[in-house]
Subunit: 202 residues, 4 copies
DNA sequence: CATGAATGAGGCTTCATTCAT
DNA sequence: GATGAATGAAGCCTCATTCAT
């Protein structure tokens, strides 16, 4: 039974991953449940053994994506050492690197935004985004505050505001990379961070 | 005939504005053509005298939106005087202020992103975004470069990178305001700009 | 516009009549909405301009049927003259005659019963049946009471009970005719009424 | 092996009884095979070891029901003594009493009617009903003829017609009780029988 | 020009049945 | 024998688009 459970969970994940691919390719509305089934290599009806509806599955993809990317970010942060500046720079680099492996799935992010704006699941999504952004802002804010306490950054810096803006900046750089293949988010981010950190250090 | 043209154009705009409202409320997929017709106070069939399809109308809304917001931004910029720092700060303020009147329509932005990610019109949208971002980056970049030339900002600042990041930051702050009513984009932006400008000035 | 309205109502009735035929042939579950559309000579989607769902249409068929048969019964009754006995006999005859033109649609009755027993519309149906039976019992009861008052029937007859039983008997005779082609409801009813009326007259 | 057979038969009956409950609650179409399995406390697949299809099982429920109620009726009749009138009255009472224990399953009757009207098994059902009604009419007819022969009832009474009507009346009274909780089939039947028997005795 | 009734392709979901374990 | 996960045919309903008025 324990084995069974594991299989069931694994299969659920397999379906979610297949769905992620298709949703990324065609968007929520453009995706047919049948396409997901094909991608997952299962029958159409089997999907409904694991998820109640297309929307449910989409939300599961969202959670999977948040988990996946959030986990990476957290790993990066906890693995960091050195001064606050160094850690901010390393974090930036790590996030911009994630772009490479995220590229194929990045359009999912737009679908999630869109869903949070107008789908019937809007509240579920909005809340999750709010929380996700909140968490991340919190982490970055703590990092900056640590820099202030260490005397590395100026005491009059408003950590919360900088954190909020910075988190947004990272996101927006990936967004621009999505729109424009010629855009290099990593280089851009690094050069920008040099300026910002100088501003923090005063 | 000139008169007719004008009437026709006005009506077209009225439809686009009505459509914008409904698309903002319900998203592209969630919007019924019939709803738009009701909002515009015309018959469903009449829509098709002015637009070839729902997608066409949506793209017209997009163009209208870009025009509208772009025009505002350009007005702000051209009206600015003073040092580069002052102008950057004024621009920030002006953009964050636009939030107030944009709030109701902001979810359109997400729909546009989503459309650029997966709709059948994706290329049309992607290109427009690329160009829009490009234009805006260009303007901000020029502003920063001016600051460098005036000796206000450090010569080693990479204007293009800072511009790209900054444009993204503004966008992302509005996004966070959308998700989180408690979030104040104006204050956050101002405090952040203080730090950034210090970094630029070195 | 008045003309429009009339057309709309007529079309609605046409659809109901087409639906009645198909439901009678195949039952509620066995009927495809598409079949009804074909029978009505309209597109599948057009149905939904007139009815919200298959169930709604089915209930409309029910109401149409009740109206149709109820109207006949009422006409028969009001047209009757003579003694109470004569009127009871004439009513019996009229009802059993209705069998001839009802035969094709009679299976609808079973569908209605079934729907009142277990469909999601059960309460709507149950109530309608309760009311329909109640009305009819009332009419027959009044007829019997009139017979008592005229001295034609015994004063100790319980009009309500006899009416309830009689109304049921008529129904059940048609039911048996439905199951058994060899069964003649008219003759059976007449012979039975002779006995019953003798019992009433005492 | 004999033992096995018995177990198998018992289990089959258990399934049928479970199915009867569920069909009575939700009707044929509304019932899921899975629900029956749960009610019977077995696996869904196991059902198909005992019955070929949902329809088959439904017909088995029908046969079980006919057997069950028919057996009761026959017991009542054979146990009766006294004059024909007394026996008719006793039979009436016995049948109306059966209502109490049948109430929960009564909606099955409607499902059977409905099935005989339109399901794919319609002929099987129709025939069974025809036979069932026929048998019952026969028994009642014999009872009445006995009354005639004994000189208790008038010789000009058409026993077959009265029997057919009476059988229908009983049925229809239970039906009305089903629709209308306030309706008392026993009292109604008794008062009606007083009148009818007076008519028979003339 | 304007309309809205009519349309039917298309999609999500259900559920009886099968079959590998 | 027993099971329940997997299946896919089938059906209800939606809604962008057309076209006769």
């Amino acid at each position: 039974m324990a084995f069974r459970q594991k299989n069931k969970k694994e299969k659920k994940t397999r379906i979610v991953e297949a769905a992620a691919k298709v949703f990324a390719r065609r968007g929520f509305s453009g995706t047919l449940v049948a396409d997901i089934a094909v991608e997952a290599g299962i029958g159409k009806g089997t999907l409904y053994e694991y998820f109640d509806s297309k929307e449910d599955l989409f939300f599961a993809v969202f959670e999977w994506f948040v988990q996946k990317t959030g986990a990476e970010a957290k790993v990066s942060i906890s693995a960091l050492g050195g001064s606050a500046s160094e850690r901010l720079e390393a974090l930036t680099e790590s996030l911009m690197h994630s772009w490479v492996e995220l590229e194929d799935l990045y359009s999912l992010v737009m679908e999630f935004w869109s869903a949070s704006a107008s789908s019937q699941m809007r509240e579920r999504f909005k809340q999750a985004f709010r929380e996700g952004y909140g968490d991340f802002r919190h982490i970055v804010s703590a990092l900056i505050r640590e820099g202030i306490e260490r005397g590395e950054f100026r005491p009059d810096v408003d950590a919360a505001s900088v954190a909020a803006a910075l988190v947004g900046t990272w996101d927006a750089l990936l967004l621009q990379a999505w729109f424009d293949e010629a855009f290099n988010p990593l280089t851009t981010a690094k050069r920008f961070m040099t300026v910002l950190i100088r501003g923090l250090a005063g």
